[in-house]
């Protein structure tokens, strides 16, 4: 027999689905007799009121909008998978908003989510110029992004990550490591730490930024040009894809890794770890970032006006492979 559903319990107990849901939720007036009948039906059928079933029951839409640049990127794919799992455990369903790397789509989605009365939004995008988040009346949680003073940010310890990566390159003998990042703005903690460590050692910091909206093939061309021209003996790439571009460049130009050039990436998604386990990288706790974002959002939905302490950054680690 198929797994019993709420409807089966209702039929067995001879009550409505709403009554079953009230018993499960312990909500509303219910006679002892009704409670007994529903509980007996649950036992007889072996019905398990799990998280998913509970989500069918509440008064809310039970939907959370999850806004990301694109799940085609393995980091965001893994993040969304973790968010989805954690939301499901809390009885929420995930409405996926894949911005296709496009700020205009993000603004449209923000409209759409509010019009559709989702219960909350988790967002993790690069578009710094999307208005509307500060006026949104829904509970919002941001992953690694500053949206407005009252919106909580879940992030990992980028300061520590930048330091770990740079110190590791120097410890492995690099004297002229190049930093390659997306945008070199004041909020880039990974770049700030790189500069700090280089300055402490009396070495010259050299930063190259390709820009988020640069198409991948143009970015590859930039990365290869920078590496060839700089004479770098080390690369700290603030994302693994760029680190993999450096490995390809080394392969193409006959450089030995790590003897001629040491390579350290950032993110450490499962896909990259599985595909290129030899890559040295600063591993973000992607699973925990996603789970924590979901938990904080669920808390905010339950208590929208509660004052929350800022979330401490999640700790990161360096995974050392053969590229350094």
């Amino acid at each position: 027999m198929a797994r019993p559903k709420l409807q089966d319990v209702a039929a067995r107990a001879g009550v409505s689905v709403t009554t079953v849901s009230r018993v499960l939720n312990n909500r509303g007036y219910l006679s002892d007799d009704l409670r007994r009948r529903v509980k007996a039906a649950i036992d007889e059928l072996g019905y398990r009121p799990d998280a998913i079933a509970r989500s069918l029951i509440g008064r809310k839409s039970g939907l959370v909008g999850v806004v990301v640049p694109t799940v085609a990127d393995p980091f965001f794919g893994e993040l969304v998978s973790a968010i989805e799992r954690s939301l499901a455990e809390h009885g929420y369903k995930t409405l996926l908003c894949d911005c296709q790397q496009n700020a205009e789509r993000e603004a449209e989605y923000l409209d759409l989510l509010q019009a559709n009365r989702v219960d909350g939004i988790i967002t993790s995008t690069h578009n710094r110029d999307v208005a509307g988040y500060d006026q949104a009346e829904l509970p919002i949680v941001a992953v690694d992004r500053r949206l407005a003073a009252h919106i909580p940010i879940i992030r990992s310890d980028n300061r520590a990550g930048g330091r770990l990566a740079t110190e590791h390159l120097l410890a492995r003998g690099s004297r002229a490591p190049l930093l390659i990042t997306a945008t070199d703005h004041a909020g880039n903690d990974r770049a700030a730490s790189y500069r700090e460590v280089m300055s402490e050692r009396g070495l010259e910091a050299r930063v190259r930024a390709y820009g988020y909206s640069t198409p991948v093939e143009d970015r590859r061309a930039l990365v290869e040009t920078w590496l060839s021209e700089s004479g770098a003996d080390g690369v700290f790439a603030t994302d693994d894809l760029t680190a993999m571009m450096a490995l390809e460049w080394a392969h193409k130009t006959g450089r030995r890794v790590p003897d001629d050039v040491r390579v350290v990436g950032y993110d450490g998604s499962a896909a990259v770890r599985q595909g290129v386990p030899g890559l040295t990288t600063v591993a973000q706790p992607i699973e925990r970032l996603g789970a924590r974002a979901a938990e904080v959002l669920v808390d905010r939905i339950a208590a929208p006006d509660a004052v929350m302490a800022p979330e401490p950054p999640l700790s990161i680690g360096l995974r050392v492979g053969w590229t350094s």
Copy 2:
């Protein structure tokens, strides 16, 4: 000119897509001026609020459940991104059901989706034993998976892909290419083509299957053992992750690629192409798979009882890099 879309109406009227959808739905506050502009644009363009618009208008939820093993896998991340984009163009929102590689979760989601009255389901999972799809009353489209006789399948040409990969390995001088795949069942067209080509050339087919539910690190150990023991001078891996494992094995054991061992993968997701552009791989049209799945589902929602011709497989291509 192509059939006008919601976006065309929005552009003509100088408003957002959300505003057009609100006018069609008669929902939310809208000034008379906005209404007039949108209606004029609809008339001028001859926009017909067909299945798409009806989904925005009618009693339907406007939600489609998208069921995948996990979006943490770059192939499925890219597929879901394409499905999401295409569904959004047709006025549907994507309810993401990430099964976390787990058949039990898939069964729960199938229940959940039906209970929540989504308008349809697109599914692309490996779990062959999930009951319920054949009884489901909702429109369903499967990606590369046989669920029931009446459920359309969108897939790419795995027969041709298996042949391309095998013939290429032989053309590059491999005489003992090993096939590594997930499961070696009768429906595995890639394996069938490999066997066919090997037989045509009078060579011995050797197939190794690791099983979908094998944890990645165990799979890596299996792959490395098979490669070391078989003396293979070529590898046809029916997914890119396994091909990347073969590359790592060659690196670790000092084998030269492609001189000692030629490596061909399968899937060609954007993430893999970007990260390891040198990998020779059979590139599936992931974008088109996703878009076509969405289109066929939208058609089925509009006309659930229509008899549809089977979808021809989408064509694939071999992308040749330095690994072969």
